[in-house]
Symmetry: C2
Subunit: 257 residues, 2 copies
Amino acid sequence: MIAGNPVQALLIDIAGVISINGEAVPGAPEALKRLRDRKLPLRFVTNTTRKTQHDLVTRLQQQGFDLESNDVFSAPVAARNYLEQHQLHPHLLIHPDLMPQFDGMETNDPNAVVVGDAGDAFTYENMNLAFRVLMEHGTLIAMGDNKYFQDEQGLSLDMGPFVHALSYASGIEPVVVGKPAQTFFQQALDALGIEAEHALMVGDDLEGDVGGAQNAGLRGVLVRTGKYRPEDESDPQISPDAIVDHFPALVHRLLND
Amino acid sequence: MIAGNPVQALLIDIAGVISINGEAVPGAPEALKRLRDRKLPLRFVTNTTRKTQHDLVTRLQQQGFDLESNDVFSAPVAARNYLEQHQLHPHLLIHPDLMPQFDGMETNDPNAVVVGDAGDAFTYENMNLAFRVLMEHGTLIAMGDNKYFQDEQGLSLDMGPFVHALSYASGIEPVVVGKPAQTFFQQALDALGIEAEHALMVGDDLEGDVGGAQNAGLRGVLVRTGKYRPEDESDPQISPDAIVDHFPALVHRLLND
């Protein structure tokens, strides 16, 4: 049981929740299967911006997860939606592996800068190219404002710091299209046809997942995996609606009581 | 005449004021000579962080300026002073050409990150190395918080945006040692033995030069060269004590009336 309305839909973060460093969290594929058997509407929501939606789904399938592309709503897809709705031509400051996600878009005479976790593509030259587009009346679109992540090399900078750098230099406020933007959660819910107060978001990022979901009217559950840190449980600003050891434990709690 | 106390000393910005893109501003070497003849105490104060103090002075001498190393107080020197006073071991995120300025300093087990205008050395890898030092209890020392500059390639990012990126990611507030820090102007004045209310700062950067100097108790004069823009004259926050067409015009005004 989670306090509040019966849970009619689930939004699920990917990295750190069902998959960590390319491996399925133990029991997570089976837990997903139990949700499928109950036909609980769900969407995987992610700020992962180093691979296309297609590659992301393929890798999760290889890890044993029963899901397809339509089950995922990602920050790059949200960015593309935003560009199309506003008829913008993007300058892409993104990881080379993500480029195919923007295939077919007009990139001449760019009037918007899209920033993802570009990794080694965050060169001084590329930062300057993006900056000059912004100084010529460009819109600054951030796939997220994540500060850093942990991988095999230790802590590494995510896209947020580079978005802040460009915003400070240009004086232009970024439009964040991924988590924790309300519009991001709302688009995922709209696709499911579920109201926020009937939905639950589960993630390992206290601010981006739990706080963001709560701001959008959902309940937010924190897992003790991935980037979770013990001090998250005593944060002065954000109180998760529930804290569980891992994703399978949440599914157990949702379905068994 | 400039309103206020008689001017007993002059602090002079370099880039955009006496020299632009490697060439002397017309009449500037002669104007400096007139100040020398009157024995007006002066210091050149600069946030230039792409070359050592030695290289900077050599290049200005080649442009016809009568000055030596002791006449210049630069952000890199201020950074080194700060490190030595606080017995810090720096991790240097700076331009390769500036490295000799920190010769002889202990850089093992760094507990401080020094950021200058590193140019192409602002790689993702180098940003991560600096970030990891900060996350291990490091101090963040910024030579300045300049946003951008104009050179032959157009507008290019200065160090400020990268300082902001590291500060946002790590949660550590930077210590700015160059302009517009009050301590920077104060150190330059201390070396001359002059009180702030008797000194004048001249620069082309409304915020860094004029606003910074005024915050430190000096008067600030803006020149209409370098990064000056007409809208600087109607800025809602900062009102220069005087605005002159160029550095020689200021010298004329100081000495001839």
